[in-house]
Protein backbone atom coordinates (compact mmCIF):
# COMPACT_ATOMS: atom_id res chain seq x y z
CA UNK A 1 0.00 0.00 0.00
CA UNK A 2 2.89 2.29 0.76
CA UNK A 3 0.82 4.65 2.81
CA UNK A 4 2.44 4.06 6.12
CA UNK A 5 -0.25 1.61 7.09
CA UNK A 6 0.77 -1.38 9.14
CA UNK A 7 0.97 -4.63 7.22
CA UNK A 8 -0.33 -7.82 8.76
CA UNK A 9 0.01 -11.48 8.03
CA UNK A 10 -3.19 -13.52 7.91
CA UNK A 11 -2.71 -14.80 11.45
CA UNK A 12 -2.04 -11.27 12.73
CA UNK A 13 -5.16 -10.04 10.98
CA UNK A 14 -7.30 -12.67 12.66
CA UNK A 15 -5.75 -12.02 16.06
CA UNK A 16 -6.08 -8.23 15.76
CA UNK A 17 -9.67 -8.34 14.54
CA UNK A 18 -10.66 -10.75 17.28
CA UNK A 19 -9.40 -8.18 19.77
CA UNK A 20 -11.54 -5.55 18.09
CA UNK A 21 -8.77 -3.66 16.31
CA UNK A 22 -10.57 -1.45 13.83
CA UNK A 23 -7.37 -0.45 12.07
CA UNK A 24 -6.71 -4.06 11.18
CA UNK A 25 -10.26 -4.45 9.90
CA UNK A 26 -9.94 -1.30 7.82
CA UNK A 27 -6.65 -2.53 6.42
CA UNK A 28 -8.13 -5.91 5.57
CA UNK A 29 -11.08 -4.21 3.93
CA UNK A 30 -8.82 -2.08 1.82
CA UNK A 31 -6.57 -4.98 0.87
CA UNK A 32 -9.07 -7.29 -0.78
CA UNK A 33 -11.61 -4.82 -2.15
CA UNK A 34 -10.05 -4.67 -5.68
CA UNK A 35 -10.20 -8.44 -6.06
CA UNK A 36 -13.93 -8.61 -5.37
CA UNK A 37 -14.63 -5.49 -7.43
CA UNK A 38 -12.92 -7.18 -10.34
CA UNK A 39 -14.75 -10.46 -9.85
CA UNK A 40 -18.17 -8.87 -9.80
CA UNK A 41 -17.58 -6.31 -12.51
CA UNK A 42 -16.35 -9.11 -14.74
CA UNK A 43 -19.58 -10.93 -14.09
CA UNK A 44 -22.16 -8.32 -15.01
CA UNK A 45 -22.24 -6.46 -11.73
CA UNK A 46 -21.90 -2.74 -11.04
CA UNK A 47 -19.39 -1.15 -8.71
CA UNK A 48 -22.06 -0.49 -6.09
CA UNK A 49 -23.27 -4.05 -6.15
CA UNK A 50 -19.67 -5.18 -5.78
CA UNK A 51 -19.15 -2.99 -2.71
CA UNK A 52 -22.37 -4.29 -1.24
CA UNK A 53 -21.41 -7.90 -1.72
CA UNK A 54 -17.93 -7.25 -0.42
CA UNK A 55 -19.26 -5.64 2.77
CA UNK A 56 -21.52 -8.59 3.30
CA UNK A 57 -18.61 -10.96 2.73
CA UNK A 58 -16.34 -9.10 5.14
CA UNK A 59 -19.21 -9.15 7.63
CA UNK A 60 -19.38 -12.94 7.47
CA UNK A 61 -15.65 -13.15 8.03
CA UNK A 62 -15.72 -10.58 10.83
CA UNK A 63 -18.51 -12.27 12.73
CA UNK A 64 -16.81 -15.63 12.48
CA UNK A 65 -13.60 -14.12 13.79
CA UNK A 66 -15.32 -12.32 16.68
CA UNK A 67 -17.20 -15.49 17.42
CA UNK A 68 -13.91 -17.33 17.65
CA UNK A 69 -15.38 -20.08 15.49
CA UNK A 70 -13.39 -19.37 12.36
CA UNK A 71 -11.52 -22.37 11.02
CA UNK A 72 -9.35 -20.90 8.32
CA UNK A 73 -8.03 -23.65 6.04
CA UNK A 74 -6.75 -21.23 3.41
CA UNK A 75 -5.68 -17.62 2.97
CA UNK A 76 -8.08 -14.89 4.04
CA UNK A 77 -8.02 -13.72 0.45
CA UNK A 78 -9.26 -17.09 -0.81
CA UNK A 79 -11.86 -17.27 1.92
CA UNK A 80 -13.24 -13.83 1.08
CA UNK A 81 -13.20 -14.67 -2.60
CA UNK A 82 -15.19 -17.83 -1.99
CA UNK A 83 -17.72 -16.05 0.21
CA UNK A 84 -18.22 -13.15 -2.18
CA UNK A 85 -18.40 -15.48 -5.16
CA UNK A 86 -21.13 -17.49 -3.46
CA UNK A 87 -23.01 -14.34 -2.44
CA UNK A 88 -22.84 -12.94 -5.94
CA UNK A 89 -24.07 -16.20 -7.45
CA UNK A 90 -27.03 -16.00 -5.11
CA UNK A 91 -27.78 -12.45 -6.13
CA UNK A 92 -27.49 -13.25 -9.80
CA UNK A 93 -29.89 -16.13 -9.33
CA UNK A 94 -32.30 -13.74 -7.64
CA UNK A 95 -31.92 -11.31 -10.49
CA UNK A 96 -32.56 -14.18 -12.88
CA UNK A 97 -29.64 -13.16 -14.98
CA UNK A 98 -27.38 -15.98 -14.02
CA UNK A 99 -25.97 -17.63 -17.12
CA UNK A 100 -24.68 -20.78 -15.47
CA UNK A 101 -21.15 -20.02 -14.41
CA UNK A 102 -18.86 -17.25 -13.30
CA UNK A 103 -15.57 -16.54 -14.94
CA UNK A 104 -13.11 -16.96 -12.12
CA UNK A 105 -9.87 -15.12 -12.11
CA UNK A 106 -8.68 -16.48 -8.78
CA UNK A 107 -8.28 -20.17 -8.13
CA UNK A 108 -11.56 -21.16 -6.58
CA UNK A 109 -11.15 -23.67 -3.80
CA UNK A 110 -13.61 -25.49 -1.65
CA UNK A 111 -13.12 -23.71 1.63
CA UNK A 112 -15.12 -23.79 4.80
CA UNK A 113 -16.80 -20.69 3.42
CA UNK A 114 -19.92 -22.47 2.19
CA UNK A 115 -20.83 -23.75 5.64
CA UNK A 116 -19.99 -20.39 7.19
CA UNK A 117 -22.32 -18.74 4.76
CA UNK A 118 -25.18 -21.02 5.71
CA UNK A 119 -24.57 -20.11 9.34
CA UNK A 120 -24.50 -16.46 8.39
CA UNK A 121 -27.81 -16.79 6.58
CA UNK A 122 -29.38 -18.37 9.63
CA UNK A 123 -28.03 -15.49 11.70
CA UNK A 124 -29.36 -12.98 9.18
CA UNK A 125 -32.79 -14.49 9.52
CA UNK A 126 -32.66 -14.21 13.27
CA UNK A 127 -31.49 -10.62 13.11
CA UNK A 128 -34.21 -9.74 10.65
CA UNK A 129 -36.82 -11.14 13.03
CA UNK A 130 -35.27 -9.33 15.93
CA UNK A 131 -35.45 -6.10 13.95
CA UNK A 132 -39.09 -6.78 13.23
CA UNK A 133 -39.84 -7.60 16.88
CA UNK A 134 -38.17 -4.35 17.92
CA UNK A 135 -40.29 -2.46 15.41
CA UNK A 136 -43.45 -3.87 16.94
CA UNK A 137 -42.66 -3.62 20.65
CA UNK A 138 -43.58 0.05 20.86
CA UNK A 139 -42.20 2.91 22.93
CA UNK A 140 -40.51 3.37 25.29
CA UNK A 141 -39.30 -0.24 25.23
CA UNK A 142 -37.89 0.10 21.76
CA UNK A 143 -35.77 3.15 22.51
CA UNK A 144 -34.66 1.65 25.78
CA UNK A 145 -33.57 -1.68 24.30
CA UNK A 146 -32.04 -0.09 21.23
CA UNK A 147 -30.18 2.34 23.40
CA UNK A 148 -28.79 -0.42 25.56
CA UNK A 149 -28.06 -3.13 23.06
CA UNK A 150 -27.67 -1.45 19.70
CA UNK A 151 -26.24 1.94 20.55
CA UNK A 152 -24.14 0.58 23.41
CA UNK A 153 -25.24 3.15 25.97
CA UNK A 154 -24.76 2.52 29.68
CA UNK A 155 -27.66 2.19 32.11
CA UNK A 156 -26.69 5.52 33.69
CA UNK A 157 -27.00 7.37 30.39
CA UNK A 158 -30.34 5.72 29.69
CA UNK A 159 -31.61 6.55 33.17
CA UNK A 160 -30.88 10.19 32.56
CA UNK A 161 -32.25 10.13 29.03
CA UNK A 162 -35.57 8.53 29.92
CA UNK A 163 -36.04 10.36 33.19
CA UNK A 164 -36.07 7.39 35.55
CA UNK A 165 -35.48 8.14 39.16
CA UNK A 166 -32.62 5.72 39.48
CA UNK A 167 -30.72 3.06 37.54
CA UNK A 168 -32.64 0.22 39.23
CA UNK A 169 -35.92 1.56 37.92
CA UNK A 170 -34.48 1.73 34.46
CA UNK A 171 -33.15 -1.81 34.83
CA UNK A 172 -36.51 -3.12 35.95
CA UNK A 173 -38.13 -1.43 32.99
CA UNK A 174 -35.55 -3.01 30.72
CA UNK A 175 -36.29 -6.49 32.04
CA UNK A 176 -40.01 -5.99 31.54
CA UNK A 177 -39.32 -4.87 28.01
CA UNK A 178 -37.14 -7.94 27.47
CA UNK A 179 -39.99 -10.18 28.52
CA UNK A 180 -42.29 -8.50 26.04
CA UNK A 181 -39.68 -8.68 23.33
CA UNK A 182 -39.20 -12.34 24.09
CA UNK A 183 -42.89 -13.03 23.48
CA UNK A 184 -42.89 -11.13 20.19
CA UNK A 185 -39.66 -12.65 19.06
CA UNK A 186 -40.40 -16.22 19.95
CA UNK A 187 -43.88 -16.34 18.43
CA UNK A 188 -42.28 -15.35 15.13
CA UNK A 189 -39.18 -17.44 15.57
CA UNK A 190 -41.14 -20.57 16.25
CA UNK A 191 -43.58 -19.86 13.43
CA UNK A 192 -40.71 -19.58 11.03
CA UNK A 193 -39.06 -22.59 12.51
CA UNK A 194 -42.11 -24.75 11.86
CA UNK A 195 -41.87 -24.18 8.14
Amino acid sequence: MGKGLPSYTDAEFVAAIRQGDDRALAQLYRLHLPMVLHLIQQNSGTEDEAKDVYQEGVMVFYEKVRDGSLELSCQIKTYLYAVCRRLWLKRLAEKNRFGGSLSDHEPYLETGAEQDLLDAQERDRRFAMMGEALERIGEPCRSLLEGFYLLDKSMQELTAEFGYTNADNAKNQKYKCLVRLKKLFFTHYQEEESF
Binding site: M59, R126, M130, G131, Y149, K171, Y175, L178, V179
Partner: protein, 383 residues
Protein backbone atom coordinates in the same frame (compact mmCIF):
# COMPACT_ATOMS: atom_id res chain seq x y z
CA UNK B 1 -43.66 -15.17 43.65
CA UNK B 2 -41.16 -13.58 41.31
CA UNK B 3 -42.18 -12.29 37.89
CA UNK B 4 -40.38 -13.27 34.72
CA UNK B 5 -38.76 -9.83 34.68
CA UNK B 6 -37.23 -10.57 38.07
CA UNK B 7 -35.83 -13.81 36.80
CA UNK B 8 -34.30 -11.92 33.90
CA UNK B 9 -32.52 -9.67 36.34
CA UNK B 10 -31.28 -12.81 38.05
CA UNK B 11 -30.16 -14.39 34.80
CA UNK B 12 -28.34 -11.29 33.72
CA UNK B 13 -26.48 -11.12 36.97
CA UNK B 14 -25.74 -14.87 36.69
CA UNK B 15 -24.32 -14.55 33.21
CA UNK B 16 -22.35 -11.47 34.22
CA UNK B 17 -21.00 -13.54 37.14
CA UNK B 18 -22.21 -10.97 39.67
CA UNK B 19 -24.14 -13.35 41.95
CA UNK B 20 -22.87 -14.19 45.39
CA UNK B 21 -21.83 -17.80 45.79
CA UNK B 22 -24.88 -19.00 47.83
CA UNK B 23 -27.34 -17.35 45.44
CA UNK B 24 -25.54 -18.90 42.48
CA UNK B 25 -25.62 -22.37 43.98
CA UNK B 26 -29.30 -21.94 44.74
CA UNK B 27 -29.96 -20.91 41.12
CA UNK B 28 -27.91 -23.73 39.66
CA UNK B 29 -29.70 -26.24 41.87
CA UNK B 30 -33.05 -24.96 40.64
CA UNK B 31 -31.92 -25.04 37.04
CA UNK B 32 -30.91 -28.66 37.42
CA UNK B 33 -34.18 -29.58 39.11
CA UNK B 34 -36.68 -27.67 36.94
CA UNK B 35 -36.46 -28.19 33.14
CA UNK B 36 -38.96 -25.40 32.31
CA UNK B 37 -36.87 -23.00 34.37
CA UNK B 38 -33.79 -24.11 32.48
CA UNK B 39 -35.70 -23.50 29.23
CA UNK B 40 -36.36 -19.94 30.41
CA UNK B 41 -32.63 -19.43 30.81
CA UNK B 42 -32.00 -20.82 27.32
CA UNK B 43 -34.58 -18.45 25.87
CA UNK B 44 -33.01 -15.57 27.73
CA UNK B 45 -29.59 -16.49 26.36
CA UNK B 46 -30.91 -16.69 22.81
CA UNK B 47 -32.71 -13.37 23.15
CA UNK B 48 -29.77 -11.64 24.76
CA UNK B 49 -27.29 -13.14 22.34
CA UNK B 50 -29.37 -12.20 19.33
CA UNK B 51 -29.83 -8.66 20.56
CA UNK B 52 -26.13 -8.23 21.21
CA UNK B 53 -25.26 -9.82 17.90
CA UNK B 54 -27.73 -7.56 16.15
CA UNK B 55 -26.17 -4.52 17.79
CA UNK B 56 -22.72 -5.71 16.84
CA UNK B 57 -23.87 -6.32 13.27
CA UNK B 58 -25.25 -2.80 12.94
CA UNK B 59 -22.09 -1.27 14.37
CA UNK B 60 -19.89 -3.34 12.06
CA UNK B 61 -21.95 -2.36 9.07
CA UNK B 62 -21.50 1.29 9.93
CA UNK B 63 -17.78 0.65 10.34
CA UNK B 64 -17.46 -1.01 6.95
CA UNK B 65 -19.46 1.72 5.31
CA UNK B 66 -17.13 4.24 6.91
CA UNK B 67 -14.13 2.35 5.49
CA UNK B 68 -15.70 2.36 2.08
CA UNK B 69 -16.47 6.06 2.34
CA UNK B 70 -12.85 6.71 3.28
CA UNK B 71 -11.63 4.69 0.35
CA UNK B 72 -14.01 6.44 -2.04
CA UNK B 73 -12.92 9.80 -0.69
CA UNK B 74 -9.27 8.79 -1.09
CA UNK B 75 -9.90 7.65 -4.65
CA UNK B 76 -11.58 10.96 -5.48
CA UNK B 77 -8.81 12.92 -3.79
CA UNK B 78 -6.20 10.92 -5.65
CA UNK B 79 -7.88 11.51 -8.96
CA UNK B 80 -8.05 15.22 -8.32
CA UNK B 81 -4.44 15.22 -7.27
CA UNK B 82 -3.32 13.26 -10.28
CA UNK B 83 -5.15 15.17 -12.93
CA UNK B 84 -4.27 18.43 -11.20
CA UNK B 85 -6.28 20.49 -13.57
CA UNK B 86 -10.04 20.18 -13.21
CA UNK B 87 -10.52 21.60 -16.70
CA UNK B 88 -8.73 18.71 -18.32
CA UNK B 89 -10.65 17.51 -21.35
CA UNK B 90 -12.72 14.48 -20.47
CA UNK B 91 -13.73 11.81 -22.86
CA UNK B 92 -17.43 11.66 -23.44
CA UNK B 93 -18.58 8.18 -24.20
CA UNK B 94 -22.05 7.53 -25.47
CA UNK B 95 -24.24 4.92 -23.85
CA UNK B 96 -23.85 2.49 -26.70
CA UNK B 97 -20.13 2.86 -26.74
CA UNK B 98 -19.97 2.32 -23.00
CA UNK B 99 -22.01 -0.85 -23.38
CA UNK B 100 -19.68 -2.00 -26.13
CA UNK B 101 -16.63 -1.17 -24.07
CA UNK B 102 -17.98 -3.06 -21.10
CA UNK B 103 -18.83 -5.99 -23.35
CA UNK B 104 -15.36 -5.97 -24.81
CA UNK B 105 -13.80 -5.60 -21.39
CA UNK B 106 -15.56 -8.58 -19.96
CA UNK B 107 -15.63 -10.87 -23.00
CA UNK B 108 -12.43 -10.16 -24.85
CA UNK B 109 -10.79 -13.36 -23.64
CA UNK B 110 -13.74 -15.43 -24.84
CA UNK B 111 -13.79 -13.58 -28.16
CA UNK B 112 -10.10 -14.13 -28.65
CA UNK B 113 -10.43 -17.84 -27.96
CA UNK B 114 -13.43 -18.12 -30.30
CA UNK B 115 -11.57 -16.30 -33.05
CA UNK B 116 -8.51 -18.49 -32.77
CA UNK B 117 -10.65 -21.60 -32.76
CA UNK B 118 -12.41 -20.36 -35.91
CA UNK B 119 -9.12 -19.62 -37.64
CA UNK B 120 -7.72 -22.98 -36.68
CA UNK B 121 -10.87 -24.71 -37.88
CA UNK B 122 -10.72 -22.97 -41.25
CA UNK B 123 -7.07 -23.72 -41.85
CA UNK B 124 -7.43 -27.19 -40.44
CA UNK B 125 -10.26 -27.92 -42.86
CA UNK B 126 -8.40 -26.49 -45.84
CA UNK B 127 -5.20 -28.37 -45.06
CA UNK B 128 -7.21 -31.49 -44.29
CA UNK B 129 -8.91 -31.34 -47.68
CA UNK B 130 -5.59 -30.83 -49.43
CA UNK B 131 -4.09 -33.73 -47.54
CA UNK B 132 -7.06 -35.93 -48.31
CA UNK B 133 -6.88 -35.08 -51.98
CA UNK B 134 -3.20 -35.92 -52.03
CA UNK B 135 -3.95 -39.20 -50.30
CA UNK B 136 -6.63 -40.00 -52.89
CA UNK B 137 -4.12 -39.83 -55.70
CA UNK B 138 -2.52 -43.18 -56.44
CA UNK B 139 0.99 -43.41 -55.17
CA UNK B 140 3.28 -42.77 -58.13
CA UNK B 141 5.24 -45.83 -59.13
CA UNK B 142 8.87 -45.04 -58.67
CA UNK B 143 10.55 -44.21 -61.91
CA UNK B 144 7.34 -44.45 -63.90
CA UNK B 145 5.90 -41.27 -65.34
CA UNK B 146 2.43 -41.05 -66.74
CA UNK B 147 2.29 -38.85 -69.73
CA UNK B 148 -0.78 -36.75 -69.35
CA UNK B 149 -0.07 -33.13 -69.77
CA UNK B 150 -0.83 -30.61 -67.07
CA UNK B 151 -2.16 -27.71 -69.02
CA UNK B 152 -1.92 -25.33 -66.08
CA UNK B 153 1.84 -25.57 -66.15
CA UNK B 154 2.20 -24.35 -69.69
CA UNK B 155 -0.60 -21.87 -69.45
CA UNK B 156 1.87 -19.11 -68.77
CA UNK B 157 3.78 -19.82 -71.95
CA UNK B 158 0.53 -19.88 -73.82
CA UNK B 159 -0.55 -16.58 -72.38
CA UNK B 160 2.76 -15.08 -73.45
CA UNK B 161 2.15 -16.46 -76.91
CA UNK B 162 -1.36 -15.05 -76.97
CA UNK B 163 0.05 -11.70 -76.06
CA UNK B 164 2.54 -11.96 -78.87
CA UNK B 165 -0.22 -12.87 -81.30
CA UNK B 166 -2.34 -9.96 -80.14
CA UNK B 167 0.57 -7.65 -80.75
CA UNK B 168 1.05 -9.02 -84.23
CA UNK B 169 -2.45 -8.82 -85.66
CA UNK B 170 -4.20 -6.68 -83.05
CA UNK B 171 -7.12 -9.07 -82.77
CA UNK B 172 -7.97 -10.53 -79.44
CA UNK B 173 -6.99 -14.14 -79.11
CA UNK B 174 -9.81 -16.48 -78.40
CA UNK B 175 -10.10 -17.12 -74.72
CA UNK B 176 -10.80 -20.80 -74.45
CA UNK B 177 -10.64 -22.61 -71.19
CA UNK B 178 -7.79 -24.96 -71.88
CA UNK B 179 -8.89 -27.60 -69.37
CA UNK B 180 -6.79 -28.98 -66.60
CA UNK B 181 -5.13 -31.93 -68.29
CA UNK B 182 -4.80 -33.10 -71.82
CA UNK B 183 -3.78 -36.25 -73.63
CA UNK B 184 -4.10 -37.86 -77.01
CA UNK B 185 -6.85 -40.14 -78.26
CA UNK B 186 -7.68 -41.81 -81.56
CA UNK B 187 -10.70 -43.23 -83.29
CA UNK B 188 -11.68 -46.80 -82.54
CA UNK B 189 -14.68 -47.22 -84.80
CA UNK B 190 -16.36 -45.01 -87.43
CA UNK B 191 -19.44 -44.35 -85.26
CA UNK B 192 -17.69 -42.19 -82.68
CA UNK B 193 -15.79 -44.46 -80.27
CA UNK B 194 -12.33 -43.37 -79.22
CA UNK B 195 -9.45 -44.86 -77.26
CA UNK B 196 -7.19 -43.09 -74.83
CA UNK B 197 -5.26 -43.90 -71.66
CA UNK B 198 -7.16 -44.33 -68.44
CA UNK B 199 -4.86 -42.01 -66.51
CA UNK B 200 -5.68 -39.18 -68.93
CA UNK B 201 -9.36 -39.14 -68.01
CA UNK B 202 -8.85 -40.15 -64.39
CA UNK B 203 -10.93 -37.91 -62.11
CA UNK B 204 -12.52 -36.10 -65.05
CA UNK B 205 -15.73 -34.14 -64.70
CA UNK B 206 -16.12 -33.57 -68.39
CA UNK B 207 -14.17 -34.48 -71.49
CA UNK B 208 -13.69 -32.52 -74.66
CA UNK B 209 -12.27 -34.04 -77.80
CA UNK B 210 -10.66 -31.72 -80.28
CA UNK B 211 -9.62 -32.67 -83.78
CA UNK B 212 -6.75 -31.28 -85.83
CA UNK B 213 -9.20 -28.99 -87.58
CA UNK B 214 -10.36 -27.62 -84.23
CA UNK B 215 -13.74 -29.32 -84.17
CA UNK B 216 -14.90 -29.84 -80.60
CA UNK B 217 -16.93 -32.78 -79.42
CA UNK B 218 -18.12 -33.72 -75.98
CA UNK B 219 -17.29 -37.24 -75.01
CA UNK B 220 -18.08 -39.57 -72.14
CA UNK B 221 -16.21 -42.60 -70.87
CA UNK B 222 -17.82 -45.91 -71.85
CA UNK B 223 -15.37 -48.32 -70.33
CA UNK B 224 -12.09 -48.13 -68.45
CA UNK B 225 -9.43 -50.69 -67.63
CA UNK B 226 -7.17 -49.42 -64.89
CA UNK B 227 -4.70 -52.31 -65.01
CA UNK B 228 -4.05 -51.91 -68.77
CA UNK B 229 -4.41 -48.14 -68.59
CA UNK B 230 -7.11 -48.08 -71.24
CA UNK B 231 -10.27 -45.99 -71.61
CA UNK B 232 -12.93 -46.16 -74.30
CA UNK B 233 -14.83 -42.93 -74.92
CA UNK B 234 -17.88 -42.16 -77.00
CA UNK B 235 -18.68 -38.82 -78.61
CA UNK B 236 -22.09 -37.70 -77.44
CA UNK B 237 -22.61 -34.57 -79.57
CA UNK B 238 -25.77 -34.57 -81.74
CA UNK B 239 -24.07 -32.90 -84.70
CA UNK B 240 -21.45 -35.62 -84.92
CA UNK B 241 -21.87 -37.81 -87.98
CA UNK B 242 -19.08 -40.33 -87.68
CA UNK B 243 -15.43 -40.41 -88.56
CA UNK B 244 -15.79 -42.08 -91.91
CA UNK B 245 -13.71 -45.10 -92.81
CA UNK B 246 -10.69 -45.64 -90.58
CA UNK B 247 -7.44 -46.16 -92.53
CA UNK B 248 -5.67 -48.40 -90.01
CA UNK B 249 -6.42 -51.80 -88.56
CA UNK B 250 -5.76 -53.22 -85.11
CA UNK B 251 -3.17 -55.92 -84.70
CA UNK B 252 -4.57 -58.84 -82.70
CA UNK B 253 -1.27 -60.63 -82.16
CA UNK B 254 1.93 -59.53 -80.49
CA UNK B 255 4.28 -57.49 -82.66
CA UNK B 256 7.90 -58.53 -83.27
CA UNK B 257 10.96 -57.12 -81.55
CA UNK B 258 12.82 -54.53 -83.58
CA UNK B 259 9.75 -53.48 -85.53
CA UNK B 260 10.01 -49.86 -86.62
CA UNK B 261 7.12 -48.01 -84.97
CA UNK B 262 5.92 -44.44 -84.76
CA UNK B 263 3.34 -42.40 -82.91
CA UNK B 264 1.33 -39.26 -83.37
CA UNK B 265 0.27 -37.16 -80.44
CA UNK B 266 -0.39 -33.77 -78.93
CA UNK B 267 2.35 -33.05 -76.40
CA UNK B 268 1.87 -29.41 -77.43
CA UNK B 269 -0.83 -27.57 -79.30
CA UNK B 270 0.18 -29.14 -82.60
CA UNK B 271 0.32 -32.73 -83.82
CA UNK B 272 3.77 -34.20 -83.22
CA UNK B 273 5.30 -37.23 -84.94
CA UNK B 274 7.95 -39.42 -83.33
CA UNK B 275 9.38 -42.75 -84.28
CA UNK B 276 11.58 -45.52 -82.89
CA UNK B 277 11.65 -49.26 -82.49
CA UNK B 278 9.88 -51.84 -80.46
CA UNK B 279 12.53 -52.58 -77.81
CA UNK B 280 10.86 -55.19 -75.60
CA UNK B 281 7.69 -57.21 -75.43
CA UNK B 282 7.12 -56.45 -71.79
CA UNK B 283 6.62 -53.16 -70.01
CA UNK B 284 7.60 -51.57 -66.73
CA UNK B 285 8.82 -54.20 -64.26
CA UNK B 286 8.02 -57.00 -66.65
CA UNK B 287 4.36 -56.14 -67.16
CA UNK B 288 3.30 -58.28 -70.14
CA UNK B 289 0.36 -56.03 -70.93
CA UNK B 290 2.77 -53.44 -72.35
CA UNK B 291 5.52 -53.02 -74.92
CA UNK B 292 8.66 -51.09 -74.35
CA UNK B 293 9.29 -48.75 -77.28
CA UNK B 294 12.20 -46.45 -77.96
CA UNK B 295 10.12 -43.46 -79.02
CA UNK B 296 10.82 -40.17 -77.26
CA UNK B 297 7.47 -39.28 -75.71
CA UNK B 298 6.42 -36.31 -73.64
CA UNK B 299 3.53 -35.41 -71.35
CA UNK B 300 0.50 -35.20 -73.63
CA UNK B 301 1.50 -38.19 -75.75
CA UNK B 302 -0.52 -40.47 -73.52
CA UNK B 303 -3.30 -42.27 -75.35
CA UNK B 304 -1.64 -41.78 -78.71
CA UNK B 305 -1.59 -44.62 -81.27
CA UNK B 306 1.58 -46.65 -81.92
CA UNK B 307 1.67 -47.99 -85.47
CA UNK B 308 4.10 -50.22 -87.31
CA UNK B 309 5.44 -49.71 -90.84
CA UNK B 310 2.44 -51.35 -92.48
CA UNK B 311 -0.02 -49.14 -90.68
CA UNK B 312 -1.17 -51.69 -88.12
CA UNK B 313 -2.01 -50.26 -84.75
CA UNK B 314 0.07 -52.19 -82.23
CA UNK B 315 -0.24 -50.15 -79.06
CA UNK B 316 -1.40 -47.11 -77.10
CA UNK B 317 1.19 -44.84 -75.45
CA UNK B 318 0.94 -44.98 -71.66
CA UNK B 319 4.07 -43.79 -69.87
CA UNK B 320 7.82 -43.83 -69.68
CA UNK B 321 10.54 -44.74 -67.27
CA UNK B 322 12.19 -41.56 -66.15
CA UNK B 323 15.45 -43.06 -64.93
CA UNK B 324 16.12 -45.02 -68.13
CA UNK B 325 17.06 -43.48 -71.45
CA UNK B 326 14.28 -43.53 -74.03
CA UNK B 327 12.12 -46.23 -72.48
CA UNK B 328 8.47 -45.57 -73.19
CA UNK B 329 5.63 -47.99 -72.64
CA UNK B 330 2.56 -48.70 -74.70
CA UNK B 331 -0.42 -50.93 -74.00
CA UNK B 332 -0.52 -53.88 -76.38
CA UNK B 333 -3.26 -53.63 -79.00
CA UNK B 334 -4.22 -57.25 -78.39
CA UNK B 335 -5.64 -56.19 -75.04
CA UNK B 336 -7.62 -53.44 -76.71
CA UNK B 337 -9.14 -55.79 -79.27
CA UNK B 338 -9.94 -58.33 -76.58
CA UNK B 339 -11.58 -55.59 -74.52
CA UNK B 340 -13.67 -54.49 -77.49
CA UNK B 341 -14.71 -58.06 -78.20
CA UNK B 342 -15.82 -58.64 -74.65
CA UNK B 343 -17.72 -55.34 -74.65
CA UNK B 344 -19.51 -56.44 -77.83
CA UNK B 345 -20.59 -59.75 -76.35
CA UNK B 346 -21.45 -58.36 -72.89
CA UNK B 347 -23.68 -55.51 -73.97
CA UNK B 348 -25.76 -54.83 -77.03
CA UNK B 349 -25.87 -51.08 -76.51
CA UNK B 350 -22.34 -50.58 -77.83
CA UNK B 351 -21.76 -51.17 -81.51
CA UNK B 352 -18.03 -50.98 -81.93
CA UNK B 353 -16.95 -52.25 -85.31
CA UNK B 354 -13.20 -52.41 -85.58
CA UNK B 355 -11.88 -51.68 -89.07
CA UNK B 356 -10.74 -54.83 -90.86
CA UNK B 357 -8.92 -53.48 -93.89
CA UNK B 358 -5.82 -51.40 -93.81
CA UNK B 359 -5.47 -48.50 -96.25
CA UNK B 360 -1.96 -47.63 -95.14
CA UNK B 361 -0.09 -50.74 -96.18
CA UNK B 362 2.51 -50.11 -98.81
CA UNK B 363 2.31 -46.31 -98.69
CA UNK B 364 5.17 -44.10 -97.58
CA UNK B 365 5.21 -42.80 -94.06
CA UNK B 366 4.30 -39.16 -94.90
CA UNK B 367 1.32 -40.48 -96.85
CA UNK B 368 0.33 -42.69 -93.95
CA UNK B 369 0.51 -39.75 -91.58
CA UNK B 370 -1.51 -37.54 -93.88
CA UNK B 371 -4.31 -40.11 -93.77
CA UNK B 372 -3.87 -40.81 -90.10
CA UNK B 373 -3.79 -37.31 -88.72
CA UNK B 374 -7.55 -36.76 -89.00
CA UNK B 375 -8.20 -39.65 -86.63
CA UNK B 376 -5.93 -38.47 -83.83
CA UNK B 377 -7.46 -36.08 -81.30
CA UNK B 378 -6.62 -34.00 -78.27
CA UNK B 379 -8.52 -35.22 -75.21
CA UNK B 380 -9.05 -32.33 -72.81
CA UNK B 381 -9.98 -33.12 -69.24
CA UNK B 382 -11.87 -30.78 -66.90
CA UNK B 383 -11.96 -31.48 -63.20
Amino acid sequence: MKTEADYYALFEAYRADELAAPARQELERRLAADPSFAQQLTDFDLLNGTLRGYGERLRTRRKLQAFQATLDAEATAEETYQTGNPLMPTMHISGIERTLREFWGSHRATIAVAASVAIMAVFGTLLGIEWWKAAQKPAPTYGYTMLRREVERIKRTQRAMNRAITQIDETKAEDINPGKFSGTGFALSPNGYLVTSYHVIQGADSLLVESRTHDHYHAEPVFTDVARDLAILRIVDKDFHGFGRLPYSFKRTTADLGERVYTLGYPREDLVFNDGSLSARSGFEGDTGFYQISIPVNPGNSGGPVLDDRGNLIGIVSGKQSDVQSAAFATKSSYLTRLVDSLQTATVSHDITLPRTNLLTGTSRPQQIRKLQNYVFVVKVYE
